[in-house]
Amino acid sequence: MQLQQRHTGSVLVVKPLEKRIDASTAMDLKQKMNEWIDAGNRRIVLNLSQVDFIDSSGLGAIISGLKKIGNDGDLVICMVKETVMSLFRLTRMDRVFDIFTSEEAALAALSQKG
C-alpha cells in the first residue's frame, strides 16, 4: 500500500495514496497501523483525501487501529470525501471517530488535547 507519513510534533500524520482501500490493501493498512502504535505513536491523523472508496475490510482495518490505540491515545480522521463519508455513516463509524475537514483542524484538535 502506497502512503505518505510524517510527524508534526508528536502527531503522526498518515495519508494513504490509494484511491481504494479494500480487501487487497486493508491487511496492509492494518499491519502498518499496528507497527505505528507499537512504535509508540499515540496520536495519529489519518488523512483520507486521496481515497474514493473504502470497503468493509478497509473500514475494519481503521476500527482495529482505534481499538489498539485504546484510551491512552487518539486516532482521528480528516479530509473525507463524501463517497467515503457515506460509508462511515452506513456503518455508524462517523460516531466513533473525530472527523475533521482539514489536516490543520485535526492537528489543532489533537494539540488541544495535550
Binding site: D22, S56, I63, R89, L90, T91, R92, V96, D98
Partner: protein, 814 residues
C-alpha cells in the same frame, strides 16, 4: 428539429421512424420488416416520452409535489407499444402510416416481447396503478426488479407443463434507459460490532458487509393524453466495477468473474409464487435489494430539494405492495437513524407516516416469515432494528393491555418457536400508518381474522380499497371494436372516467346497439378461435358459448370445480341423459408453480379430459375443451374480449379481490362466481339478475371448518352427480392409456384432503350452470345483460382505486 422528432403528426412520426431505422438499427428507411418497424417505432415513442419525463419532473420539482412510490417485487407491464401509442394519442396516426405501406399493425405488435415480470394479479395491479397515476397526473412512480428471467414460459408436452426460461432481455428492449449514473451501493451480509460512540453511548457498527451495486433501468410510463410521463425504475444487480478491476489487476480472472456472477445472481430470476418457502435466501436478498435501492433513491430525491427530514412524509408516500417489500420499514429506520442520525422516535414517526401496506392474501401459507437466523446473516443491522421496533411496540401493547401475555405472543413481530421467525406482515402493519385490503370482503376478513388484534389496537389504521384495472389497456387496447362502438354511442369520456359507461344503459334495450354488440363479440370469438386453432390445433365454433377459466393454477381458484362440471356435462350427454342444447367451448389457461404437484396435475387432467371430449364424435362438437399454453398479458388481451362466461369460482373467503373478474365484466362477459373477493361488489354493481352467484358464503365455509362439518364421503354417498364424476377420475375414463393416473384425485378429495370445498359447492354449481344454459339461449336477453355488465363496470377502474389511495392513504395525516 423538435417538430420532426417529437411531433405527433403522421409525417413527424414517419420521419422519426425513418431516423431510427437508419441511425439506431442501421437499416434502410425502406425496410418493411415488422421487427424493424416495431423497434424504430418504439424508439420514436420513447423519444417523445423521455422529453416529457423531463417536463413532468420539472413541474413536480417546482411545485414540490408529493411523490408516491409504489414498491413491488412484480410489475406485469405487458407489451408497451399499443399502450404508449394510445396514451400519446398517436395510435390512429401509426395505423394510418402502416396502412399506407400495406402493413398489418398486428404483425408489428406481435414483434414485441411480453415481459413476464410478475406471476399474476398482484403484478398486473401494480402496472395498472402506474397507468392510472400517470393518467391522473399524480407524481407516482414504481420501483421493482429488473429480472433477467421473467416468469417461466409454459409449454405443454403430452398434457404436462414444461417450464422454459423466459430470457426476455436476450432481445433489444427499446423502452428502457439504463441509468448507470444513478447506481447505488447496497451493503449485505456482515456482522454487528458492539461499540461505543464518542460520548460513550452504545453504537452498533455494521461491519464486514459485501457490496452489491444497484443499477437502475427506467421505463417511461405515459398517462392518457400524453401530458404526464412518470417512470418505472427497475433495479438490476451488479458487482462493483472497480472492485472487479482490482481483482483483475491481481491476476485472479476466475475470482473476479465469479464475484460478478454471484452479485448478478440476485436479480437473475423472478420466483414463481407458491415456491417461495422461507429459507430461500436468494428471495430474501431480492426483497432486501429492492428495498435498499429504492429507499436510498427516494431519500436522495427528497434531499435534492430539502435540507432536513421535517417534511419527508408531507412530500413522500411509499406503498408496499404486499409484504414482499416490508423490509422497507427497517431500511428507512436504518437510513434515518444510522446514516442521518435522527433520534429513534423522530425516525419512527417519519417511517410510520410515510409507509403504507397493501395486503393481498389471507392464505396463511402465503404470509411471509423469514427465519431470524437467516436475517441475522443477510441483514444483521436490520434484524437489530426489527428487534428494537418489536421491543417498543410490545411495550405499548403491554401498557394498553397489562397482563395479556397471550396477546403479546400473538402480535409480536417475532414468532417464538424452535426456529424463530420474523412475521413480515406484522412488521408491515406496525411500521405503516395505513393497511388496506383489496376488496370489501377481504378487508373485513383481515379485520376479523388475520389482523384482528391489530385492528383492535388501531382500528383507524385499516381501510378497504377495492382493486381496479385500467380501461386503457383492458378495453381501449384489448377490444378496439367495442371501444369504438362505445365511443360512437356515448363519446370517449369513459377512457379517463369509466363511470361514464353508465350512459350505455339505455342502449341495452336498443335493437341496433345490441346487434352491433353481438357482432363485435362474434368477431372477437372468431379471433380467439383462430388463435386456438393455430396454437393447439383444435377447431372451435365461434357460435358456441365461450366459457372461460383463465388464471394462475391453484387449488383455491378451483380449476377442479370447473373440470368436474365439464366431466359431468360430458357424461350426461354421453349417456343420453341430456340433449345438448348449447354448444360450449371451455377455455382454460394458467401457469402452475414448478413443484406444486397438484396444480401441475390439474393441467394434465384438463388436457386429458379435453382429449377425450374433443375426439368423441358422438358429441358432434357440442363440447370442446382447450387449454391455451403460456398465459400472459398479451394472451389475456385476446381471450377476455371473446368470453361469454367468466368463471370466478374460488372458494369463498380465499380470493382477496381478483382482477380478472373485472376485465371480463368490462368486456361484456357474464360472471359465474362465488361470493368471494370483488365478485361481491360486482354483484352489487351489476344487479343479481345480471350475474350468476352460487355456493357457500365465506362465513358458511368458516363455520363448516370450525365445526368440522365437511365430510366428502357423505356427499359421495348422497349425490349421484358427485359419484359420476369422482368415479370417472378413479376408473380411467380420462386416462385409458395411462391407467390409474387420476386415482390420486379421487383419494385426494374423498380422504378429507379437500380444503377448498369442491363437493359442497358442486351441486349448486351444476344448478347455476343449468340456469346459465337456459339464459344463454335467449340471445337478446343475454346480450342485454352483457351490455349492462359493461355499463356498470365503472367502479372497477384503477383510476377509482388510485383516487381512493390518494384520499385515504397517501394524503392522509395520521
Amino acid at each position: 428539429m423538435k417538430s420532426i422528432h417529437l411531433g405527433k403528426s403522421k409525417s413527424a412520426l414517419e420521419k422519426s421512424i425513418n431516423y431510427h431505422l437508419r441511425c439506431s438499427l442501421c437499416k434502410a428507411p425502406s425496410s418493411k420488416e415488422s421487427r424493424d418497424l416495431y423497434l424504430s417505432t418504439a424508439f420514436s415513442l420513447r423519444d417523445r416520452m423521455t422529453e416529457r419525463i423531463l417536463q413532468t419532473e420539472r413541474r413536480y420539482h417546482e411545485t414540490k409535489t408529493k411523490r408516491v412510490y409504489y414498491l413491488s417485487l412484480e410489475f406485469l407491464i405487458g407489451r408497451l407499444l399499443s399502450n404508449s401509442l394510445h396514451n400519446l394519442g398517436m395510435f390512429d396516426v401509426f395505423k394510418d402510416l402502416l396502412m399506407d405501406g400495406d402493413i398489418d399493425i398486428e404483425e408489428v405488435r406481435e414483434q414485441e416481447n411480453d415481459p413476464g415480470l410478475g406471476n399474476g394479479g398482484l403484478g398486473r395491479l401494480a402496472a395498472c396503478f402506474l397507468d392510472s397515476m400517470a393518467t391522473l397526473d399524480i407524481a407516482g412512480f414504481g420501483y421493482g426488479i429488473h429480472y433477467e428471467y421473467g416468469l417461466f414460459k409454459q409449454e405443454i408436452d403430452n398434457g404436462y407443463q414444461r417450464e422454459k426460461p423466459d430470457n426476455w432481455l436476450a432481445e433489444l428492449n427499446p423502452w428502457e434507459i439504463k441509468r448507470t449514473d444513478e447506481k447505488c451501493i447496497v451493503p449485505v451480509y456482515g456482522r454487528i460490532e458492539h461499540f461505543q460512540d464518542r460520548a460513550g453511548e452504545y453504537n452498533p457498527m455494521w461491519l464486514d458487509w459485501k457490496v452489491i451495486m444497484g443499477i437502475p433501468f427506467d421505463i417511461p410510463v405515459v398517462g392518457y393524453g400524453g401530458e404526464t410521463v412518470n417512470w418505472l425504475r427497475l433495479y438490476g444487480a451488479g458487482s462493483s466495477k472497480d472492485f472487479d478491476i482490482q481483482i483483475f489487476n491481481e491476476g485472479d480472472y476466475f475470482k473476479a468473474v465469479e464475484q460478478k456472477v454471484s452479485s448478478e445472481t440476485i436479480t437473475k430470476m423472478l420466483y414463481p409464487l407458491d415456491t417461495i418457502k422461507s429459507g430461500r435466501e436468494l428471495r430474501l436478498l431480492q426483497e432486501y435489494f429492492l428495498v435498499a435501492c429504492s429507499i436510498r433513491d427516494i431519500v436522495r430525491r427528497y434531499l435534492e430539494i430539502n435540507e432536513n427530514f421535517d417534511h419527508f412524509s408531507d412530500q413522500v408516500a411509499i406503498q408496499m405492495n404486499d409484504t414482499h417489500p416490508s423490509l422497507a420499514v427497517a431500511e428507512l429506520m436504518r437510513l434515518l437513524v444510522d446514516e442521518y442520525a435522527l433520534p429513534w422516535n423522530h425516525a419512527w414517526q417519519i417511517t410510520q407516516e410515510t409507509l403504507a401496506y397493501t395486503n393481498h392474501t389471507i392464505l396463511s401459507e402465503a404470509l411471509e416469515k423469514w427465519s431470524v437466523q437467516l436475517l441475522e446473516r443477510v441483514v444483521p443491522r436490520h434484524l437489530q432494528i426489527i428487534y428494537e421496533i418489536n421491543h417498543r411496540f410490545l411495550g405499548e401493547v403491554r401498557r394498553r393491555y397489562p397482563g395479556d401475555t397471550d396477546l403479546l405472543r400473538r402480535v409480536s413481530l417475532i414468532e417464538e418457536s424452535e426456529n424463530k421467525q420474523v412475521r413480515m406482515a406484522h412488521l408491515a402493519v406496525v411500521g405503516s400508518h395505513c393497511v388496506n385490503g383489496v376488496s370489501a370482503l377481504h378487508t373485513e376478513i383481515l379485520k376479523k381474522d388475520n389482523f384482528a388484534d391489530f385492528h383492535a389496537l388501531w382500528p383507524e389504521r385499516f381501510v378497504n380499497i377495492t382493486n381496479g384495472i385500467t380501461q386503457r389497456r383492458w378495453l381501449l387496447e384489448a377490444n378496439p371494436r367495442l371501444a369504438s362502438l362505445i365511443g360512437d354511442t356515448i363519446g370517449d369520456a369513459w377512457i379517463t372516467d369509466l363511470g361514464h359507461l353508465r350512459l350505455l344503459e339505455p342502449s341495452a334495450d336498443e335493437a341496433g346497439f345490441k346487434e352491433a354488440f353481438r357482432r363485435i363479440k362474434r368477431a372477437n370469438k372468431e379471433m380467439l378461435a383462430k388463435i386456438i386453432y393455430e396454437t393447439v390445433w383444435t377447431a372451435v365454433d365461434p357460435d358456441a358459448m365461450f366459457d372461460i377459466h383463465v388464471k394462475r393454477i391453484h387449488e383455491y381458484k378451483r380449476q377442479l370445480l370447473k373440470i368436474m362440471e365439464v366431466v359431468y356435462e360430458y357424461l350426461r350427454i354421453r349417456r343420453g341423459e341430456k340433449q345438448p342444447t348449447v354448444a360450449k367451448t371451455y377455455v382454460f389457461a394458467g401457469k402452475a408453480a414448478p413443484g406444486y404437484w397438484v396444480a401441475q396435475q390439474m393441467i394434465k387432467l384438463i388436457h386429458n379430459v379435453g382429449q377425450v371430449i374433443n375426439q368423441d364424435k358422438a358429441l358432434r362438437d357440442a363440447l370442446k375443451v382447450v387449454f391455451l399454453p403460456d398465459y400472459r398479458v398479451s394472451l389475456a388481451e385476446k381471450i377476455i374480449p371473446a368470453a361469454d362466461l367468466s368463471e370466478q369460482i374460488s372458494m369463498a373467503g380465499t380470493e382477496a379481490s381478483g382482477t380478472g373478474n373485472m376485465k371480463f365484466m368490462l368486456n361484456g362477459a357474464l360472471t359465474v362466481g362465488t361470493l368471494d373477493g370483488a365478485n361481491v361488489e360486482i354483484l352489487e354493481e351489476v344487479g343479481e339478475e345480471n350475474i350468476f352467484i352460487f355456493g357457500l358464503k365465506a362465513e358458511e365455509v368458516a363455520d363448516m371448518i370450525k365445526n368440522n362439518a365437511y365430510h366428502p364421503a357423505e356427499y359421495y354417498r348422497r349425490f349421484r352427480e358427485v359419484r359420476m364424476v369422482m368415479d370417472a377420475f378413479r376408473d380411467d375414463t380420462f386416462c385409458a392409456s395411462e391407467p390409474g393416473l387420476f386415482q390420486w384425485l379421487y383419494h385426494h378429495v374423498m380422504n378429507n384432503e379437500d380444503p377448498y370445498f369442491h363437493l359442497p359447492d358442486f351441486l349448486p354449481y351444476l344448478q347455476i350452470q343449468d340456469k346459465i344454459e337456459r339464459e344463454y339461449q335467449d340471445t337478446s336477453s343475454w346480450t342485454r345483460k352483457a351490455i349492462l355488465n359493461v355499463a356498470r363496470s365503472g367502479k372497477f377502474s384503477s383510476d377509482r382505486a388510485i383516487s381512493e389511495y390518494m384520499r385515504l392513504i397517501w394524503n392522509k395525516t395520521p
